[in-house]
Symmetry: D2
């Protein structure tokens, strides 16, 4: 089987497949990222097409819709190299519109498509405890289940092609709004003279105590923004969700406000840090025009 | 002791005080609300001043800063009626600026002030399991602790006068932003054709699974907006938090977006419903200009 | 020539064409709207296809992308009925993506396409003084210029197909943000106790004195919201602009805030009123949670 | 007479007073700024109190409420040094709450107060063509009119103390929202492939053609952000307006979105540039997470 995209997430997922007995041929746009897979016995290919030739399954784990489009078409694209009946498991976060576009491209190439983006970042990817949100035909989901279970602990089948992608952006939109909300709460706490560490305890227990917030709040205090989930990708996910919201006629003001905070953070140089770094730009903005 | 404000929260809190051996003299702006307290052996007064005359403690549990100001000053106001050394426990959610204003008024009247707003709505108020966020001098907090423990299970002393009020609005700001975020997530889910009940399960577990969201999400599905915490008061609390944010030079875009959603909901007639009714206005707005 | 869409704008534009010597065959989804055109000597057709059969030009002036799609394809759609070389002048406000989609559909049907949305509402439409923002090939723009000049006073050719539509949504986005900004300024003026009529004078002259604001501000004072440009269509236009913004990775916070205000106004029943009615919802929201 | 605050605006205003026959004693927090006044025959004082001693009028032109408070009270504050009946003309932009606070402080010191903030930036200040928005008692406005007319061309008396300050922040709020709206329109234009210079022409004429936008749009094209009106002060003015909006229970979503854009621009280092530099941060944010 082929695995396209060996970044922070993909390399960990591919390793789990290889370890659990699948023969993985990996590919990554920038070389070097494939080293861990090679060391574990996997092979590396020079192009998406080369990786996919003869494969029964192709997994893609890339950054955004443009990156996924970039590996499908053209002379090096994998769709033209697949044999009929190959299963494509699309794990990137690209939103339902792009996922349905990919499903169309797959159908034209006689490739079976499911969208299967994941919940969980680096540690669950390494531990094989990701959660898959899956869209596609039931029989195809059944067929690929062993692969998904090699990488994750739960598979939610949510509907036809595109619905896994849809659920994922809804999920990340809420994640992003909650995280921005937490950062704003700590910003205001500080300006009000409250002990931020004490507030982190208070907000982490009781009604507002979501696991994600308990995990990220301490990073906001220490400003250790080593990336588990890069801020620019959370901005992208909120953007994909809001793109669909506008396509469908909705207005989602809290999520739009959160998106603006991430965009401001990225424009100020925090894009490659962990998404908790949204706290840094909010603090900076909160110094006020007179630099209080 | 006097208890001023026998609304949905106050009446339950006063009952717990009476049951646990305090002799409570209650007062409410609109009569009739005092019936449960009277039946439990409490007394009712005709004015704040009458209730407070001779009391060793006065608890206030009112809707907003204007209501608190309304019971302190003037011929019927309680501050003029208190004997020196009376302890005032201010449990309303009025924000730190108003709390410090009240602390000043108390000092001038030789009354000891603490701000002690609560976390928890109707059920914890009835069960005596509220959480108190307290600002004020340590010795005064010690002195009033038995009263607080008659009404709640935890007392967090967070700093001098105003800091309980500060922590409370930060807390409710995050609560309001998370709840609006959830409502937006369900709105987008519906427009994307996802099963909202399934999404409620998904968002309620894992990283985003805050107890408050798990409690409110089902109400958004059934649109049962019987008030546990009226939407207009959550709008008010976000407004108080943002008032302080602007006073201090901060900009908090996600919380501002959430506030707008609550204001739109209230302007459309949802103010007296539970705050989960923010989902109703977002759904309505999401029908789009062409009424999709 | 055919004219599809005889609503408030289209009927006035078609009348000008008929008066200036073009033989117009009109069509409208709901009958009855064609009466003025018939009285002026025009003819009415029973379907888009019937209107377009044999026509050298087809003008479309409809409400949104869905309505335009609705008249192009299918058995009654006009594209299949056109002879090769017919010129299609698309005057609706549908955004660049939909305009390019229409250009594609036209090419497939051997129809020459330009997008030519207009600036100006009812009066300029009646007076033949509209401004056209045009995208398409230069020779086609030259060919249709006499028709455009029968309906308007200025033709801006801005680039290839889609660029007229692009400029129009940028224009209306700014219009909508300025109008919401004016409504917010008058809302705050009122709450601050300023004389709103005096503020309208002040804001209408000097740096902020845009013609559009001078025209709309008095309507906000009198609350006469007889529609010149229905609020729901301005909401739609902002939505189309923001859809493209999200597609392209931008975040436009003031325009997003304005869009939310229009969506709230429409959800509260102001959609069919003039877009100045955004002032009504802002006033209502500004009464605050306690109904000040 | 005394003139406190000889910054970019104040120095130009003081010069006009001196030239038109008033004997001006100037003061500025950082020395050196008084040079032009001294060269024109004015005197310089070492403290606000020294400047105001014996003066019949005191003009203040400072950056924000904190700066105004800084010159009024304490041993060097001017209020204690004024003789009874001195007229205080407060020209800073501080909002109605701070203006009323100053009116109170003035009354206690037997000083006659008017708030008289100005419309217009560097050039009108130099030319003596500012517009004054005045709050205060009618007789006091009459008494100070000759001073105002030495610095400006129009005096709008809008009500009692605080109403000049109120009108000014409403005015600047609209200015700021329109300017952010223009920057967003040009941002979207660029991303849509439109010729920005052509769009500046288009948006500058017709319905959206406000003088302020015509003046600022070319600066956004050339990115010449030499300050005529520093961005941080426009952020401050929007913040003051929104502070009052929250105090009064209003929600103003377009203005809040604009405020966020200015705060992001200031946090990214554009605070000392002209307010048109809001276009720079919006462009940067519009590159999207993938840096398009």
């Amino acid at each position: 089987m082929a695995f396209l995209g060996l970044g922070a997430m993909g390399s960990r997922m591919a390793l789990n497949l290889q370890r659990k007995g699948f023969e993985v041929i990996g590919w990554n746009r920038t070389a070097g990222k494939g080293q861990p897979l090679a060391e574990a016995g996997g092979r590396l290919a020079g192009s998406p097409a080369e990786a996919a030739r003869g494969a029964d399954f192709v997994v893609t784990m890339l950054s955004d819709p443009a990156a996924v489009r970039g590996v499908t078409a053209g002379p090096e694209g994998f769709l033209g190299a697949c044999r009929s009946g190959t299963g494509w498991i699309e794990c990137s976060t690209i939103g339902p519109s792009a996922a349905r576009e990919m499903a169309e491209a797959a159908r034209a190439a006689k490739v079976a498509f499911i969208d299967a983006p994941v919940l969980g970042s680096l540690k669950p990817a390494a531990d094989g405890t990701l959660v898959f949100l899956v869209g596609g035909p039931a029989d195809e989901v059944t067929r690929v289940r062993p692969l998904l279970e090699a990488m994750g602990r739960t598979v939610h089948h949510l509907g036809p092609a595109g619905q896994g992608a849809a659920a994922k952006i809804v999920f990340n939109m809420l994640l992003g709004t909650m995280l921005a909300g937490l950062a704003e709460a700590l910003t205001l706490s500080e300006r009000l003279g409250l002990d931020r560490a004490r507030m982190v305890d208070l907000l982490g227990e009781g009604p507002t105590g979501a696991p994600f917030l308990r995990m990220k709040a301490p990073l906001m205090l220490t400003e250790d923004f080593t990336p588990a989930f890069q801020l620019k990708w959370l901005e992208k996910d909120l953007g994909l969700a809001l793109l669909d919201a506008y396509r469908l006629g909705a207005t989602l003001p809290a999520s739009e406000g959160a998106h603006t905070a991430y965009a401001a953070a990225r424009a100020s140089g925090h894009g490659d840090q962990d998404s908790a770094a949204v706290a840094a730009i909010l603090r900076e903005m909160a110094r006020g025009p007179a630099g209080a």
